[in-house]
Symmetry: C2
Subunit: 205 residues, 2 copies
Amino acid sequence: MNIITISREFGSGGREIGKRLADALGWAYYDKEIEIGIARRMNMDENFIAGAIDRSVTANIPLHFGRTIANSYAMKQQVDILVEKQRVLEEFATASDCVIVGRAADVILSEYEPLKIFVYADMEYKINRCQGYAEVGENPTRREMEKAIKKIDSGRMKYHSMFLDADWGDKRHYHLCVNTSGIEIKKIVPAIAQYARCWFDNQNK
Amino acid sequence: MNIITISREFGSGGREIGKRLADALGWAYYDKEIEIGIARRMNMDENFIAGAIDRSVTANIPLHFGRTIANSYAMKQQVDILVEKQRVLEEFATASDCVIVGRAADVILSEYEPLKIFVYADMEYKINRCQGYAEVGENPTRREMEKAIKKIDSGRMKYHSMFLDADWGDKRHYHLCVNTSGIEIKKIVPAIAQYARCWFDNQNK
């Protein structure tokens, strides 16, 4: 199977690239399906899973509680989620060619040799993009938005570092890094799809 | 005019990407032509220019001589070369659509808003590639090769830092970063050419 993983800075349009890329290639697309899959397997609420999946195993455990108490309930639950997540991702990865957005799938599925893409953009562009998504009545300032973006990306970095001793976003870890600043994403996706086809042709020869 | 600048780690195949990209797009390609152009303008040897162009202005001047002696002959010559280089690059940039490899053209021509591509690869791949280029009788060890690659890239980084307060190779400074590890370059160039077309369509709309 051919797998593309999309890691992305919040607000860079990585999810849109992933979705359009899957459409362009005619491949399966996995995003929130990952939490839904875990929630079903664990008989838990998918929103709880979505929250837990973005945090490192130790992040929810009060410091005074000590990280050494490995069998604490909270930590055990986080580890269980991780185990199920790996199973769900492997299920997707072996079912058909697919594009997976986020969830450290680039590392968790590394033995499947995915094409690893990182999507990033200038802060200015990310703020504009996020403000475009704000709902009526929500009027975050640019400063608030920047703070939120940085916080979310910091969480993604920490989560990623649980699995890999490399900086999230370090270009050496990816095959292609795409800067979406000022770019209309739907215009560049056909080229990324062609890149992916060439890349897999090369790998599978 | 549309300009693509290729910055690249030594041994990553950036030059090959640049040449093939120019061919695929039917654009002019500039590489050694830059030194030839400067040498003609300054009535100097192009090999001397090639050596000088890879070093920072102050690199050739003995430390005890002091960097403050700005009108020293050696420094003046380096500055003259820089000035001519800028003129040659601008001449190329305004003549026709083109691909320019290295020479900090990404920064020197930044007001022309080039598509800035960075090409990189794992050390293993770069060493293999460089060994493939070694001539008969030259048998550099992998260790020697790695040392040479690091030295050359360190020089490129220093040269770049004369013009821009950003790390050479930092993905934020580029629009697209391509990891060529294990890739047959001619297979991915059509996709990069398509990416460039989409990118310029977007910019020129």
